[in-house]
Amino acid sequence: MTENAVKKITTHTPEEIERVAEWTKTEDYKEKNFAREALVVNPAHACQPLGAQMVASGFAETLPFVHGSQGCASYFRSTFNRHFREPSAATCDAMTEDGAVFGGQNNLFEGLENAYTLYKPKMMAVYTTCMPEVIGDDLTAFIKNAKAAGHVPEDLPIPYANTPSFNGTHIHGFDSMLKGILEYLTKDRKVEDKCTGKLNLIPGFDGNIGNLREYQRILDLFEIPFVMMPDISEVFDSGCDGNYKLYPGGTPLEEAAESINGKVTMSLQKWTTPHTMRFVKSEYSGVHEVMAMPMGIEKTDALLMKLSELFDKPVPEELKKERARAVDAMTDGHQYIHGKKFAVYGDPDYLLGIVSFLLEMGAHPHHIVCSRSNKKFKKEMEALLETSEYGAGCTVHVNRDLWHLRSLIFTDPVDGIIGDTHGKFVARDTGLPLFRVGFPIIDRINLHRSPVVGYQGVINLMSMICNKFLDIKDETCEDQWFEMMR
């Protein structure tokens, strides 16, 4: 056959299609699938600047500013739009071919000036896309030059972060941008012996507004003064009252600047905030703590006890009651989830939380997939699994994607899948329910308003999971097994 011969259109027989479809469910396929070295299929992570943008959005009157290609900015914004069903303001300096040749300084100049004039931000937080990272733009110099040239006022805070998409994931971009902003704002603000008395709370990359409000509620109950950094709770959950607000919330910049004199600085996402916490440790006053995301009873207990200890306040009565009510819900409902097997995927800190919750319920987090992380995380997860007999036989897969997960489930079935919307295809293929937890959730409403942390989160997770299993039972059982009570 000559190379350029015109060929007839090909078709596959139904038998061939059926054969391949079945083959993809086999051990043989799984082996080939796991042998992949270059191809990634249906990953469950995004790129750094997305995380950076979440941070930038979470500071008051701050305009997220993408240095790089314009398309990136649109992708980040629409991702947040879809998940939160909220506006997501961000601009960019729209580098194009000439930028690739001459560098992006002129774009940045013009972009900063226009953005400042039009949107009147109190801060612009700059982060990069692939392009300036590949060509090596020097942001420190560019921003200095922009101010020197009068494009923006000298005193306008313009922190920045290098967030190359070819390295890490959205959580690393979150880390870099947060570090960048805190570094900028707290510069020269440390005062010996001064203490704000506050908790600086770093929630991490979390698309669940309900979680953030839950943290706030818990701290209010403790009467612990705090500043949350970043705080997207109002930014991405503002009300509809007939007035669009460009900057509807966020961490007040002055409070962020003062955070360096805080009493306690605490991150709730270890794997999301290593650089930020390294910076905090080296520069911040007060106590520095990294706690696990409080999912499940034990991790919530641990957080409350730590808060109690650090601020010398008793655990509020209301929270004690809530704890008891959550445990009550667990003992009442454990039979609907005990022994069930789950496949879970997502970001490291979320995964640790979900797994902890499942183990407490006597469920098995059977396949645990993190599509971009490292061996240390794998070890930490394995250590967590070892704390419970229900973790036996569960395996952790790092740098494996949702197409790997498909093979795992077909060859070693589970009862349900927990993760963001992207898992709906593997859920459909395998006929399993998908319990939507994580980011993004772009095919259901309001889930991001329902906390999965704290004691309330335990109840919410149980309700979501157990009631769905009951729905399935009612919907799929034969008449003779259809019952009034469950």
């Binding site: 350029n4 015109v6 060929k7 007839k8 259109i9 090909t10 299609i17 391949v20 479809a21 993809t24 070295e37 270059a38 191809l39 990634v40 299929v41 249906n42 990953p43 995004a46 790129c47 600047p49 997305l50 500013f65 790089g68 290609s69 314009q70 398309g71 990136c72 649109s74 992708y75 980040f76 629409s78 739009n81 069903r85 909220e86 506006p87 303001a89 601009t91 729209a94 194009t96 071919e97 013009e110 000036e113 226009n114 039009l118 949107y119 692939c130 392009m131 590949v134 190359p164 070819f166 390295n167 509809c240 009252d241 007939g242 007035n243 669009y244 197409w403 992207h422 295809f425 293929d429």
Partner: protein, 480 residues
């Protein structure tokens, strides 16, 4: 086509003043750049005075995407039986995975591939180049997804910057895999919008696809190709049956729910009928030049335009087709009238402002008018002059036309013109809804659709009524 009747309260003077007032907020240089992109409509002017296809103004919140978005999201993604590889870092593939609603038939992962395939570039790929990885990747993809009919490689920014040669790799792999393996150098930094991505994709089809296959069947006199329908929300499935009822054989679809080998064989058809002129006119011209295939634009939004289009298409064929065309119109007109009878009383006299991509800013105007809604402003994310020239006659005098409008501007235009509905994209949706203004996401039909064809009109009418008349808007203003 008669000029649109004037819209009460809309005048060239008012609109010009609105534009000036708005641009006055901008730095001088930016305002100067933006000024030519906005204007009050002169339906009779030719060409339209609004400038387009220029770089966005840095720092201004544009709604535009990039060349990759135009290539992956618009042209390639909808081809159902190919493995489309987002070649480069992780993000682009993830963000464009399943977010454009270009629906496809087939068994996902087996015979159709609405998946996210990516090379997930790491630092080492930037340093050492990604060509070898790409080669391996294509081999792996073909092994794991053996029923694919081809593979496309869509370059992301770094690929072009680091000097990889994906064309060499795809050439090699096309031979090795004995399938269509298509390179597309659609790095996001190229050009000023999605539009260049369309064009680059057209080039790739021209250079690496078309002519490489032929249909099994003998060509027939009624063979056509449906160009520029991306099957958003199932549009193709509402449009194609109309053409088939007219007696035409739709041999290939570009590219919504399309099949790559049929696209490769399209040079055998007798007529190309094109819906989205912007993204596909180049390939129509290529086919016209090289294979003498004529082409015709049409519009399947709303019964008025559908009937016009059926007649115009039929005009290119013999009496059989013309007659069948009339039969189709006669068959569906009562249904359309019923829809209009149901919804027009609820919508008559309302106004809408649009800002979308491709063809919709002009093509949907007639559908709104069918429902009694007047469009007081419209514009495109990434149009060219020829788009605006086609738009001016569709809009009433003095209505506002804006190109690549920023959110800042659009907010003010809407604030002043007070439409009952804004139809635009997801980035604008919640901005306007917060302001209490009914909105439909008109890139993706707001998770509804199809809107094409008669079937689509029914859904369109329902959705527009729902948006405008939802009682929830009455609750926006708090009594306290």
């Amino acid at each position: 086509m008669a000029e649109r009747k004037p819209i009460e309260g809309v005048t060239i003077e008012k609109t010009e003043k609105l534009i000036e007032d708005t641009l006055a907020f901008m730095p001088e240089k930016a305002a100067k750049k933006r000024r030519p992109h906005v204007g009050a409509n002169e339906p009779s002017a030719s060409p339209c005075a609004v400038k387009s296809n220029r770089k966005i103004v840095p720092g201004v919140m544009s709604q535009r995407g990039c060349a990759y978005a135009g290539a992956k999201g618009v042209v390639w993604g909808p081809i159902r039986d190919m493995v489309h590889v987002s070649h480069g870092p992780i993000g682009c593939g993830v963000y464009s995975w399943g977010t454009r609603r270009n629906l496809v038939q087939g068994i996902p992962g087996i015979t159709s591939f609405p998946l996210d395939f990516t090379s997930d570039f790491q630092e080492r790929d930037i340093v050492y180049g990604g060509d070898i990885k790409l080669e391996k990747l294509l081999r792996e993809a073909d092994e794991l997804f053996p029923l694919n009919k081809g593979l496309s490689v869509l370059s992301e920014c770094p690929v072009g910057l680091i000097g990889d040669d994906i064309n060499a790799v795809t050439k090699k792999m096309e031979k090795e895999l004995d399938k269509l393996v298509v390179p597309c150098n659609c790095e996001g930094f190229r050009g000023v919008s999605q539009s260049l991505g369309h064009h680059i994709s057209n080039d790739s089809i021209r250079d690496f696809v078309i002519g490489k296959r032929e249909f099994d069947e003998e060509p027939g006199p009624y063979d056509i190709a449906l160009i520029g329908d991306y099957n958003i929300g199932g549009d193709v499935w509402a449009a194609k049956p109309i053409l088939e009822e007219m007696g035409l054989n739709v041999k290939a679809i570009w590219t919504g729910d399309g099949e790559i080998e049929k696209i490769a064989a399209t040079y055998q058809v007798k007529l190309n009928v094109i819906h989205c002129y912007r993204s596909m006119n180049y390939m129509c011209k290529v086919m016209e030049e090289k294979w003498n295939i004529p082409w015709i634009e049409y519009n399947f939004f709303g019964p008025t335009k559908i009937a016009e289009s059926i007649r115009a298409i039929a005009e290119r064929f013999d009496d059989t087709i013309k007659e069948k065309g009339e039969q189709v119109i006669a068959k569906y007109t009562p249904m359309a009238e019923e829809i209009i009878a149901q919804y027009k009383p609820r919508l008559d006299g309302k106004t809408a402002m649009l800002f979308v991509g491709g063809l919709r800013p002009r093509h949907t105007v007639g559908a709104y008018e069918d429902l009694g809604i007047q469009v007081t402003g419209t514009g495109y994310e990434f149009a060219h002059q020829d788009d605006y020239d086609r738009t001016a006659p569709e809009m009433a005098k003095g209505t506002i036309i804006y190109d690549d409008v920023s959110e800042f501007e659009l907010e003010r235009y809407v604030e002043t013109m007070k439409p009952d509905l804004v139809g635009s994209g997801i980035k604008e949706k919640y901005v306007f809804q917060k302001a209490g203004i009914p909105f439909r996401q008109m890139h993706s039909w707001d998770y509804s659709g199809p809107y094409h064809g008669y079937e689509g009109f029914k859904i369109f009418a329902r959705d527009i009524d729902m948006a405008i008349n939802s009682p929830t808007w009455k609750l926006v203003k708090s009594p306290f």
